[in-house]
Amino acid sequence: MSSKHFRFPVFGQVDYFGQPQHSAASYTPSEEKQRTTDPIVTGSSVIAIKYNGGVVMGCDTLCSYGSLARFNNIQRVKQFGPKTIVGYSGEHSDFQSITQLLDDLVIDDQCIDDKSQLSTEEIWNYLARVLYNRRNKVDPLWNNLVVMGFDKKTDKSFLGKVDLYGTCFKDDYIATGYGQHIALPLLRKAYSPDMTLEQAQKLITDCLRVLFYRDARSSKRVQLSYANANGMEISAPIELETYNWDIGEAAVKSFDQV
């Protein structure tokens, strides 16, 4: 074996006579295809629970750029068709491309004009196939998606999750991101299937508050989404009531006066 087989010369095994190595400056990335290897602009947790008569989903409105709180007012939930809402954590741009896919799908469905519409479960399944397909290309869409909906005809609510591998499942309560570690145990403890809307709302808000306290990539500006017999609704951003941080503000002020 000649020395050029050694990519990382070890001390004492240096090739003194070989071709000059590429310097750091002339290093260019190979023509390898570009793909998402790390998410760049990311949303944190999404949490959602079924209650007696519908589903509630909650998430904050922050999209971070690494550790920088970059975009403070981004809606991380979107409605597709009349009975489905999808919330995401992970790469913002990937979700925007998913948005295009789903919007096209919904419009195609509407153009057929046969009075049938994609059910929430169908959209969930479609997303699972799309994400699985991309992971098969080792070019994933870097998202955890929470899909929820309510079908007025059958009076049934739906809650499901899809991740970047294409793993998908339905459950009564779902959390993504840090929520998986922090909110999910809380949900398991507090959850009961015959919760009222108010109880469910409170549970979600409490979880979001805990997440705000502990997840450094979260914010206290949150949005709740509802799916129930009254239809679908995505609330305007709400400021969570949290521990009073005024002391910090006061400190800055007094610093100013010095």
Partner: protein
């Protein structure tokens, strides 16, 4: 003038190829096992789905999937691959039914699954399968696989995260290998097999963190496929 001293012997600084590659596989864990008799087949599988680490994604994901009324497939490993594999088998089976006017036999399914897995051996389905059921003669049968399609017909087998805990138990209690005293008839009755399957999956749940929550117990015999739910630890 003297040239500045250059340590030419030092290797040029290596630029590490920093490209955090996306790892396309995740192990969602779980245990499945099966015991075959002369006229039955018992299959058990837990319903926990882990996130690849210490987290549980859901407690309600069933690893056993009915293919025909004589055959089920029990799969542990990566759930997304499992679903893709199932969908593939499902479409092939329904086409077979339409073309041949009869469902595919369990032995035929077992060969087909092997081919399917082998075709994808350079980017395998990360799935560990048991094809279980009764064959054309009504005899209980199990095929056990690795991820790339190696397979073997056996009397009992287990797959998944609790495999190491369950397999020796089955070898001892069903295979009755290396026993000094073999008492009673060599083959378990269907009821005994169900009882053993429950004990085996519960035992796996004792030590394997990826096994738990609930278990599906499936019995296949001449009267069809019978499902039963069974509680495991929810820890």
């Amino acid at each position: 003038m003297m040239e500045p001293l250059r340590l030419t012997a030092l290797p040029a600084k290596e630029v590490p190829m920093r490209q955090a590659r996306f790892e396309p596989y995740v192990d969602n864990g779980g245990t499945v096992l099966a015991i075959a008799g002369s006229d039955y087949c018992v299959i058990a599988g837990d319903t926990r789905m882990s996130d690849g680490g210490y987290g549980i994604q859901t407690r309600q994901y069933t690893k056993i999937f009915q293919l025909t009324n004589k055959c089920v497939i029990a799969t542990s490993g990566m759930q997304a691959d499992t679903l893709a594999l199932r969908k593939r088998l499902e479409t092939v089976l329904s086409r077979y039914q339409k073309e041949h006017g009869k469902p595919m036999s369990t032995p035929a399914i077992s060969q087909y699954l092997s081919n399917t897995l082998y075709q994808k051996r350079f980017f395998p389905y990360y799935t560990f399968n048991l094809v279980c059921g009764v064959d054309e003669d009504g005899v209980g049968c199990i095929w056990t696989y690795d991820a790339v399609g190696s397979h073997e017909r056996v009397k009992m087998s287990s797959q998944g995260s609790g495999n190491q805990l369950v397999q020796p138990l089955l070898d001892n209690q069903v295979g009755k290998f290396n026993q000094r005293i073999v008492d009673g008839p060599r083959e378990l009755s269907s009821e005994q097999a169900v009882s053993l399957a429950k004990d085996a999956i519960t035992s796996a749940g004792e030590r394997d963190i990826y096994t738990g929550d609930f278990a599906d117990i499936v019995v296949i015999n001449s009267t069809g496929v019978h499902w039963e739910k069974f509680n495991l630890k929810l820890d």
